[in-house]
Amino acid sequence: MTNHLIDATKWVDRYSDYLYNYTIVRVNDHEVAQDLISETFLAGLKSAKNFKGEASERTWLISILKRKIIDHYRKTNSNKGKAEVRMQYSGEDSDGDWLEERVKDPFDKTAEDTIENSELGDAIYDCIGLLPEKQAAIFKMKTIDNFDTEAICNEFSITPSNLWVIIHRARTSLAQCLEKNWL
């Protein structure tokens, strides 16, 4: 029991990126994603004693999150939800730019592409989850957040050649992992 509580302090560091990416491709809204993840963590904390350790912590959290996402859609599709007037703006600046939101989707983008890409994202994140923690952190900073080599070196106090070695190891493991699980 104490074990789980100790682990919970690391949830944000370990799983927030994974859960965020998982949610954002499914609900498409930053605020909603943030709320759902926050709810997931709290629910996880509450039912930590029910966690039998049969699955990995991450799988367990994802299963809670899936429920939350389903609940979210159920709520918005319920009669009460439908009765609410909802206006969605893409950003604060674009308040009222309704015309822009009505532009049709690009014709070469199909539903299959979107589904495939979100599954690919999950697969990549699954593989990133297998990397050592520091390697994963540096790889994500470099590849997903597009930080400068210099900025990352300063943050982790490593030399550029250290960084490239870490990146190389991460990429090699990722390529092998994806080859096995995706292609």
């Binding site: 509580l5 919970a8 302090t9 949830w11 944000v12 560091d13 927030s16 990126d17 859960l19 965020y20 990416n21 954002i24 491709v25 943030q34 993840i37 926050s38 963590f41 709290l42 904390l45 890409n117 979100s118 690919l120 994202g121 990549i124 994140y125 994500k140 470099k142 590849t143 997903i144 957040d145 080599t149 490239w164 990146i167 190389h168 990429r171 990722l174 390529a175 994806l178 080859e179 995706w182």
Partner: protein, 81 residues
């Protein structure tokens, strides 16, 4: 020979090239190496495929500020338990 690099260097340059951080000289040397080394050519293709996959997946991470908020929230909740 100035143009010859070993497989180690080739891997390094190839990684840099994935992030558009290889210099012209490095890119040229990499190209030359890939002509003569089948193994590195395969690895390089795989590396490029990975870059493309990551680009296609449009990965995101949770913004740092939001992580901090979530952390304090969770910390508080842990304290209550």
């Amino acid at each position: 020979m100035l143009l010859m690099i070993d497989c180690n260097k080739s891997g390094q340059y190839c990684d840099k090239a994935q992030y558009n951080e290889a210099s012209t000289k490095e890119r040229f040397r990499l190209k030359m190496h890939l002509v003569i080394c089948k193994l590195c050519k395969g690895k390089s293709a795989q590396n490029t495929k990975l870059t493309q996959a990551i680009k296609d997946a449009k990965l995101t991470t949770m913004p740092k500020a939001d992580k901090a908020i979530l952390k304090t929230k969770l910390q508080k909740e842990i304290g209550n338990h």
